[in-house]
């Protein structure tokens, strides 16, 4: 990872110096090494650029606002981030010609909360060696199985292929996509009431901080319906039993067929609500009902909800295996 970071930084420096781009979107560290967040760089502050095990954030959304400004931008995208990028291109939210995409190698990012749950505190830095994660902490070096501390979204990685890039840094590790729908299937197998309890329990934790919406690359409306008093569903806080459900259903509905399953919503949720399970239900259903579709795989294919066939299954057949 050190090596990749060095290469990335050199690449950024090169492109900035040559004037190919005039700014860079990447990650920077906060007060702690595990506190990585997106940031914009020029030659002046490029030394603050990092690419570590904690750079889980998907940078594509930041391009929407950035690409409206003058000049070309360099952005670093991990494999799963490239899907969001393509989706934004398809929706004309960003201009391809204004952006220089450097695909960057990723072998799964680390969830600091999971590390802490393992009793690993005071982390100064981490590195991956094979299946292990070696953590340098103020209490000395600690080693864990990486799979135990990876971000939820990395546990169901779509594969390590960049679907769009101008240049690649690091290797494109060939990897079978992991099963994404196991948990959804488990929920489907429950009774209605069990499911209701499960979601009531999860969603009642929602504090309507809107972090899921704000981080989501698909939730990028110029003006969100929840902020629009004319929409009749605008609301700021959960004031009743249904409010949080309404919010999350509508949010999922609005990104249905557009969600690339980047997992950012669950990553940023301060309450740890497994929001990706809602999005994935839509993805799983649409795959089963209308054929495999991966949002952001290309910039042409129509999303399932924006197309149709004469023989589509009927609405009441949603829970049958074959439809008609």
């Amino acid at each position: 990872m050190q090596e990749i970071m060095k290469q990335a930084k050199l690449k950024a420096e090169e492109l900035l110096t040559k004037g190919v781009v005039n700014r860079v979107i990447g990650w920077t560290e906060g007060d702690f090494s595990y506190d990585c967040s997106p940031a914009t760089f020029t030659l002046d502050n490029l030394d603050k650029f990092v690419y570590t095990e904690f750079c889980g954030a998907n940078l594509s959304k930041y391009l929407i606002e950035e690409s409206k400004k003058e000049g070309k931008i360099l952005v670093f995208l991990k494999p799963c981030d490239t899907y969001s990028f393509n989706q934004l291109i398809q929706e004309h939210r960003i201009k391809r010609e204004n952006i220089y995409v450097v695909g960057i190698e990723c072998r799964g990012k680390v969830d600091i909360d999971k590390l802490r749950a393992f009793g690993i505190d005071g982390v100064l830095g981490c590195k991956t060696e094979g299946d292990k994660l070696i953590c340098d902490t103020i209490y000395g070096e600690k080693t864990v199985d990486k799979v135990d501390v990876m971000l939820e979204k990395c546990l169901s990685c779509k594969g390590k292929k960049h679907v769009v890039y101008d240049e690649l840094i690091g290797e494109e590790v060939v990897e079978e996509p992991k099963d994404r729908f196991g948990m959804v299937a488990q929920l489907e197998a429950m009774t209605e009431d069990e499911r209701y309890k499960f979601w009531q329990n999860e969603l009642s934790k929602c504090i309507r901080c809107n972090a899921c919406r704000n981080v989501c690359p698909a939730c990028s409306c110029v003006h969100c319906v929840f902020d629009n008093p004319d929409s009749n569903i605008a609301s700021k806080a959960n004031t009743d039993r249904f409010e949080e459900k309404l919010y999350h259903i509508i949010r999922a509905w609005h990104v249905a067929g557009r969600c690339t399953d980047c997992g950012e919503c669950s990553r940023v949720c301060p309450q740890g609500i497994p929001l990706h399970l809602i999005n994935r239900k839509f993805i799983k259903d649409m795959n089963e009902f209308y054929g495999e579709y991966q949002a952001g795989e290309d910039t042409e294919t129509k999303a399932p909800l924006n197309s149709y066939t004469f023989g589509d299954r009927e609405p009441h057949e949603f829970d049958t295996k074959e439809g008609k």
């Binding site: 409206k68 929706e91 004309h92 990028s220 969100c224 319906v225 004319d230 009749n232 924006n306 197309s307």
Partner: protein
């Protein structure tokens, strides 16, 4: 504060018997904003309408709710009255308390209660209604007809006769289409050329008709009343203004080996050619794939023999841009490729021919001057086998699922004509079903059997084997439960028809919907059979599905009437309830456009003032002349920027809330 008036209709006893109308009036009076409420026996009557108009004026009403029968019944009446009284017609809401209430509920208490809810819901909606103005768009008074076969010709003539300009675009060097290749026509057996040629001459002589032959439509933009088409006029290498059609060039051209398309490839033509004697325009065309001069630079004989000096080897394709108010699609058909049906021997055996080739072989203007011979060796056939449904009605990838419709009749025609001209020939027709719906059609087919002694055999041909110059036809005779082996001289295949290969391209260009067989879809199978769902596009002939000449001509005329109806208007009144985007909320994501069935949504980059400067954003625009108001886009839109006038999100939400109160 908006002032709302409510009228509750008795509809005689139709409503009043199960709904306490007085109670409804009282309940409405209690609703906020309602300044006036009254009941009357028949609001749709003249007196009722006058009462309504008076109330609108006297109380300066901003909106009116009428609790009465279904809006499908009298909404238009109420709107007219409102407009006369100075209220925007879209400020009217009808609460359906008859069909949805009094007629289906027997209990007066229950009926009244529901009627009050329905009235309240209508009040909630009308409070949010905005006055709407139906837009208008200009109509360009010229029609484009794509395809110059009998369908296109008929449509063009009818439109032009009504006094409107028409352009015909035909991809071949001459108009005339498939019909010009036919010999006789069923069920009257009159000569195809004799009835078509005068029409072709009419077209060329008509001052309102402009023929773009050897041309193709390259792009179409715009919408009903305002289309712009780009037409590519392919280089003929002949100046049509100068060419006199004398055909001296054709005689002297040394490159005579090109297959003659007009004779279905049964003979050859020179590289410079006029496809047939009655061609319109009667002008020569050089085939660049065969012309020695164009390929090698040497030759130039035609240029030397042309006394008119019409040959121009340097000619280039030209793009012409024209504006139209309406477009008629008449792209026609072709017969399928028979490569996948070679058990019938078409690819290897010269004496296995298609019905179209048979037409040319029996046509006096054809390659044999109408003398029917076997193409292999020129002998006169004595035994002829016709095979029906080749490629039609099947499910395999090589088959067409539909019935090609015309084959039964033309085969009966062929068989009959054969027996008439050559009584000594034996004629067999292998059929699955003989389908002859149509005036005088079955009588025609029966004549073939009964008067002309054509052998109709229920069964199919399974294999054709050529040996010693003859064809062994192996076939089933299902009624006799026999396998036949007929020693035939000629086998004629009724190949399935398919949409012309340019149809898909043109359909895409016009955003006119097509079925999986590339036939154009009509707006309604029964009630709008000549209109495409895309406004301003009309369908004529085979491009919409298999049909014979009488049906084609009828449809061509019908399409023309629709075009005339459209072109006779100076402006088009648009639907007022159309989609309308709020550009401040629009993401420019194109999701709305992907679901729009009419292609009514486009995008522009627009500047917006933001704090500290200007920002350019891509935003959607709805062409109100095209939008039909289905609302598909409003749901595809995530931000809620796209809304539907007359059925806005807020209005429907208000109705929902009112019902669920």
């Amino acid at each position: 504060m908006k002032k709302i008036g409510v009228f509750v209709c008795w509809c005689g006893s139709n409503i009043a018997a199960t709904v306490d109308v007085k109670a409804v009036v009282e309940a409405c009076k209690k609703e906020p904003n309602v300044v006036f409420a009254e009941d009357y026996q028949y609001i749709c009557s003249e007196i009722g309408q006058n009462k309504m108009a008076d109330a609108i004026r006297d109380y300066k009403l901003d909106g009116v709710v009428i609790c009465s029968c279904s809006p499908r019944m009298h909404e238009a009446t109420f709107r007219k009255t409102a407009e006369k009284a100075g209220l925007n017609p879209y400020m009217i809401e009808v609460a359906n308390i008859r069909e949805q209430c009094s007629w289906i509920h027997k209990d007066i208490e229950e009926g009244t209660e529901k009627a009050i809810v329905l009235a309240r819901t209508a009040i909630a909606k009308v409070l949010l209604n905005a006055p709407l103005q139906a837009g208008e768009s200009k109509v360009t008074k010229r029609a484009l007809v794509i395809g110059g076969g009998i369908a296109g010709i008929q449509s063009a003539l009818d439109i032009a006769d009504a006094g409107f300009e028409v352009d015909i675009v035909e991809k071949k060097p001459s108009i005339g289409g498939k019909m010009s290749q036919l010999d006789k026509t069923f069920p009257t057996l009159d000569c195809s050329a004799c009835i078509l040629t005068p029409k072709m001459v009419d077209v060329s002589a008509h001052e309102k008709i402009n023929i773009f032959a050897y041309s193709e439509v390259e792009a179409v933009s715009g919408f009903v009343g305002n289309f712009t088409a780009k037409i590519r006029q392919k280089a003929r290498y002949v100046d049509t203004a100068k060419c006199t059609g004398c055909r001296a060039c054709m005689e002297k051209c040394p490159s005579k080996k090109s297959l003659n398309e007009f004779n279905a490839g049964l003979d050859t033509r020179p590289a410079i050619y006029i496809p047939f004697a009655q061609a319109v325009p009667n002008k020569a065309t050089i085939d660049p794939n065969a012309c020695i001069k164009l390929k090698t630079g040497k030759c130039g004989i035609c240029s030397k023999v042309c006394t008119a000096g019409a040959i121009d080897y340097e000619q280039k394709d030209q793009i012409i841009e024209r504006e139209y108010g309406a477009i008629v699609v008449a792209t026609g058909y072709n017969i399928i490729n028979l490569d996948k049906f070679n058990e019938l021997g078409y690819s290897d055996c010269k004496d296995v021919i298609t019905s179209l080739e048979f037409e040319r072989l029996t046509n006096a203007a054809g390659p044999t001057k109408g003398h029917l011979i076997c193409p292999s060796d020129g002998r006169e056939p004595k035994k002829i086998v016709f095979v029906q449904c080749v490629g039609s009605r099947g499910l395999r990838p090589c088959d067409k699922q539909y019935c090609s419709k015309i084959c039964c009749m033309y085969t009966a025609k062929h068989a009959m004509l054969l027996r008439e001209k050559h009584p000594e020939t034996e004629v067999y027709v292998f059929y699955i079903d003989v389908r002859t719906p149509g005036k005088n059609y079955d009588e025609f087919y029966r004549r073939a059997v009964e008067q002309y002694g054509v052998h109709y055999i229920k069964g199919q041909v399974g294999k054709v084997i050529e040996k010693d110059g003859h064809l062994e036809v192996q076939a089933s005779d299902l009624l006799a439960d026999e396998q036949l082996h007929i020693d035939a001289d000629l086998v004629v295949l009724a190949a399935a028809i398919e949409a012309d290969d340019t149809a898909r391209k043109i359909g895409t260009m016009l955003t006119a919907s097509m079925d999986t067989n590339d036939f154009f879809t009509e707006a309604h199978a029964k009630l709008k059979p000549v209109e495409s769902p895309t406004a301003g596009i009309f369908l004529s002939g085979m491009c919409q599905g298999p049909k014979d000449i009488p049906d084609t001509v009828a449809q061509a005329g019908a399409a023309a009437v629709k075009v005339i109806g459209l072109l006779s208007k100076d402006t088009l009144k648009c639907n007022a309830c159309v989609a309308s985007p709020n550009e401040n909320m629009c993401n420019g994501c194109s999701l709305c456009a992907t679901v729009c069935p009419y292609g009514a949504i486009t995008y522009v980059d627009k500047e917006f003032r933001i704090p500290g400067g200007v920002q350019v954003r891509r935003v959607s625009q709805v062409n109100e002349a095209i939008c039909q108001g289905c609302g598909a886009c409003t749901v595809a839109c995530m931000s809620g920027a796209m809304d539907l006038k007359g059925f806005t999100n807020k209005e429907i939400m208000a109705e929902v809330e009112s019902i669920c109160k």
